[in-house]
């Protein structure tokens, strides 16, 4: 790269377009982006290590703190993994409640994204309105679980709180309200002239590029790849409810917005069906404190994409190893190909279009500052650290 014609602009670690600290170094030629360096690791918290020092039941509460937005799907996937190790089958009602909470989470996460997208293209009204309507879901979640952000609904062996008859009625009326608002937002994102001017044709991620960078979640579905785990590898009772997988193939930011919004219409459909299918019954089954030796994986479809958990037990009440893989880590790499050749003005909306959640993403590499050699931490080193 020629230093005479290019200059660099830092996006982050502290930047109004990114809520979380992450550092993108942008090489610019005029207003055109030539290259982007993505530096992650400002938010590394050592959670996988901390999980090894707590019991399985206590880990749930740490795991839901990995991400403030997708706190339910993290615990859900983790609980699924541990239940697989324990070889127990949780009650049906608990499964439906887990699904309802997970879909609530998708609702509020994507509504949040709609607001962020509006904000990033300088459209404050969309931002304010989307977040106002998101509040409907947040209030339901608060009523249901007792907290707005960390729901703590899932427990190993079931769920902690029940959905009463009044609550179910309230959920049904709120879903109708949300449906009408969602139709409105789809109309806004497809037809509003200033929005389409900014979103159509920006941040193109071709299908083969998406495959090459192994993009997942709504980002991949907006490039025409069908990858919804709820369809591909149904967990809980997703195979008993009827819903469509949304894909769209215009590859740009608008396509991602449409995929997300239409997905929410499916989500409300799922919630209604769950409420209908739910039978009276137990919420939890008793599970032992210690988990038999073994290892397993579990996957779940988070709002941002696929979430992956690997849990290994050595027969005690604490996990030997928990490995977490989050969607943003997969989706942050396509940014490189999406940003090249784009305008600086489109940078925030393209970065936001992957719906980044950096606190889940951050990994750590040890670098010896004297020699400059970097190394990854291996298992024996980690076990040495374990008390």
């Amino acid at each position: 790269m020629n230093d005479d014609t290019c200059y660099t602009l830092p996006l982050g670690p502290q930047h109004p377009a990114l809520v979380e600290p992450e550092y993108l170094n942008i090489h610019l030629d005029g207003e055109t982006i030539v290259n982007v360096d993505i530096n992650i690791g400002f938010m590394h918290r050592g959670i996988e290590k901390a999980l090894q020092q707590r019991t399985y039941q206590q880990d749930r509460f740490l795991i839901e703190k990995i991400c403030g937005i997708c706190s339910s799907i993290h615990t859900l996937t983790y609980c699924n993994a541990v239940e697989k190790l324990l070889d127990v089958d949780i009650p049906e009602r608990a499964k439906y409640i887990r699904m309802i909470v997970a879909e609530f989470e998708r609702l509020h996460s994507h509504m949040l994204w709609v607001g962020i997208a509006g904000y990033e293209i300088g459209f404050d009204t969309v931002f304010q309105m989307a977040w106002r309507d998101r509040e409907l879901v947040m209030e339901l979640l608060e009523d249901l679980s007792g907290n707005r952000v960390s729901y703590s609904m899932n427990t190993i062996g079931g769920v902690r709180r029940d959905i009463s008859k009044d609550m179910a009625k309230k959920i049904r009326t709120t879903m109708d309200k949300i449906d009408s608002r969602l139709h409105h937002y789809i109309n806004v994102f497809v037809n509003d002239s200033t929005i389409t001017k900014r979103t159509k044709g920006t941040g193109i991620l071709k299908q083969e590029d998406a495959k090459r960078y192994s993009a997942i979640g709504p980002l991949a579905r907006a490039s025409g790849i069908s990858c919804d785990l709820r369809k591909k590898a149904p967990y809980l009772l997703y195979d008993t409810v009827d819903f469509k997988e949304i894909t769209h193939d215009t590859d740009d930011v608008e396509s991602r917005a449409i995929v997300r919004l239409k997905e929410l219409l499916e989500s409300t459909k799922i919630i209604r069906q769950c409420l209908h299918l739910m039978q009276k019954g137990e919420l939890t089954i008793k599970v032992p404190e210690t988990v038999p030796e073994g290892e397993t994986i579990s996957r779940g479809e988070a709002p941002r994409g696929e979430i992956f958990y690997y849990v290994r037990s050595d027969g005690t009440d604490r996990p030997y190893r928990v490995k977490i893989n989050t969607p943003t880590l997969a989706n942050i790499h396509p940014l490189q190909s999406m940003l090249k050749g784009q305008q600086l003005a489109d940078l925030p909306i393209i970065v936001a279009s992957i719906d980044p959640c950096f606190s889940c993403t951050d990994r750590v590499t040890l670098i010896d500052t004297k020699t400059g050699i970097s190394k990854t931490v291996d298992e024996t080193y980690l076990q040495k650290l374990k008390r």
């Binding site: 707590r54 039941q57 206590q58 880990d59 749930r60 509460f61 740490l62 703190k65 459209f123 009204t125 969309v126 309105m129 106002r132 509040e135 608060e142 009523d143 249901l144 679980s145 007792g146 907290n147 960390s150 703590s152 902690r160 709180r161 409105h184 109309n187 806004v188 037809n191 509003d192 002239s193 929005i195």
Partner: protein, 107 residues
């Protein structure tokens, strides 16, 4: 111009936001807020201390000592779940800010 309908409706509508410290939202029934502890009913079994993921509850059975440091609490409600006598529950109060350390300790 698709947001115009929203904007016109909003001009007539009451604002969705509220002036927080002056008007407070009521928290729902199952809210997980500030702890309410009933010393009379407590049997000092120590189950809450064992269950707590952040180890913020301290119990000594012989001295009849029970203490909770709210500043470390993550309000998961696990202590409430395991308590055999239901002497501990999470209440509806969510305003816990203070500049004194003693205010965070529940005895």
């Amino acid at each position: 111009m698709k947001m115009l309908s929203d904007i016109i409706k909003n001009l007539i509508r009451k604002p969705a936001t509220e002036k927080y410290p002056y008007t407070k939202k009521k928290t729902p029934k199952g809210f997980r807020g500030k702890h309410e502890y009933d010393r009379e009913k407590c049997i000092y079994c120590g189950l809450c201390a064992k269950a707590c993921p952040v180890h913020t509850i301290g119990v000594i059975k012989d001295k009849r000592f029970w203490q909770l440091d709210m500043s470390r609490c993550i309000f998961c409600g696990r202590c409430e779940d395991v308590c055999p006598t239901k002497c501990l529950r999470l209440g509806n109060d969510f305003e816990m800010a203070s500049d004194k350390k003693e205010d965070f300790i529940i005895k």
